[in-house]
């Protein structure tokens, strides 16, 4: 059994529960791949450097990050640098032989570069060029399998390697989905809410299981904002070969095991 766990990158949103849960899963013979993001930490470091993260709005009203060259550099500092090192050390201290990888290592996560985006600025539609982002089309599962077979636990983060040979930003939830698909694994996306809520004001209204088109309709209708991206990632994982996909709260004692127990 292979489990791909998406966790937050910053320790604050990634309590030790997740790391010790990874340790007990690995101890029990489960192969685990950890995937993490951490864009709020990137914004913190940009701010500490006296720079500002740039968010742009598309003509359809979606807000996203514009990643210029300097922001991309800070991304590499914070994600494969600071946060990945911190998580690998945390897992090593739990007895897990973790190995950190970004999407550029061994061409782990590759795909098309998207350097231009349509944005809405002061009511004008414009094309902004120079964005460092891309869409994952290929996962080098051989590298992951080599590491898993030799007893290691890969800890994967963005950037990915775009087809023009440049490291670019990509959504970490979707990176986790791509990895889960490539490994035919179980995807568990940990988040700071208990799951997708049918009623966003009622924490007890978690949609437990989706196993038919109507319940999937209910799910996608209920998922708002950042959660809709997580549902999209879960959907992509299943379309690409993942066995199961679960969105669950990180704030329990054994968040991954509990999510897997409920799924299976």
């Amino acid at each position: 059994m292979t489990v791909v766990v998406k966790i937050g990158g910053a320790r604050a949103v990634d309590p030790d529960g997740a790391l010790s849960d990874v340790a007990s899963l690995v101890e029990g013979g489960t192969q685990v791949v950890v995937v993490h993001g951490g864009s709020t930490a990137v914004d913190d470091t940009l701010e500490a450097l006296g720079e500002s993260p740039e968010y742009v709005e598309t003509p359809s009203g979606v807000v996203g990050r514009f990643t210029d060259e300097r922001t991309m550099e800070v991304f590499s500092m914070v994600l494969p640098g600071q946060l990945n090192t911190d998580l690998v050390v945390g897992l090593q201290n739990e007895g897990v032989d973790a190995v950190g990888l970004s999407g550029v290592d061994g061409g782990l996560l590759t795909g098309a570069r998207k350097s231009a985006v349509r944005v809405l600025e002061d009511g004008k539609k414009k094309i902004r060029r120079g964005d460092h982002s891309g869409r994952i089309e290929n996962v080098n599962s051989d590298l992951l399998e080599t590491l898993l077979e030799t007893g290691h636990t890969p800890v994967v983060t963005v950037p990915m390697l775009a087809d023009d040979g440049v490291a670019v930003n990509t959504d970490a939830d979707r990176a986790a989905a791509a990895v889960a698909g490539a490994l035919s694994g179980d995807l568990v996306v940990l988040t700071d809410v208990p799951g997708v809520l049918a009623d966003v004001d009622d924490e007890s209204s978690v949609i437990d299981r989706v196993d038919s088109p109507p319940t999937y309709e209910t799910l996608t209708a209920a998922a708002e904002g950042f959660m809709s991206r997580k549902v999209m990632a879960a959907t992509e994982a299943l379309e690409n070969g993942a066995t199961t996909a679960t969105i669950a709260s990180a704030n329990t004692e054994r968040p991954i095991s509990e999510a897997l127990d409920e799924t299976n």
Binding site: G64, K114, A116, K125, K126, I127, V168, T170
Partner: protein, 54 residues
């Protein structure tokens, strides 16, 4: 004024047109990107998927 590269019709521009701006051709409806402003050069605006990062 500039010429639509799709249908050849004149396209009216406001004064503060910027590079990167997308103008709709009033005649054929094509989306045109302002490549340069002095003089104004237009090209067909690319269709773009959105792929946001982390």
């Amino acid at each position: 004024m500039a010429e639509c590269i799709e249908c050849g019709a004149s396209v009216s521009l406001h004064d503060d047109v910027e590079a990167g701006e997308i103008i709709d051709c009033g005649t054929c409806g094509s989306e045109l990107e302002v490549i340069e402003t002095d003089p104004v050069t237009l090209d067909t605006a690319p269709e773009l998927e959105e792929d946001w990062g982390e």
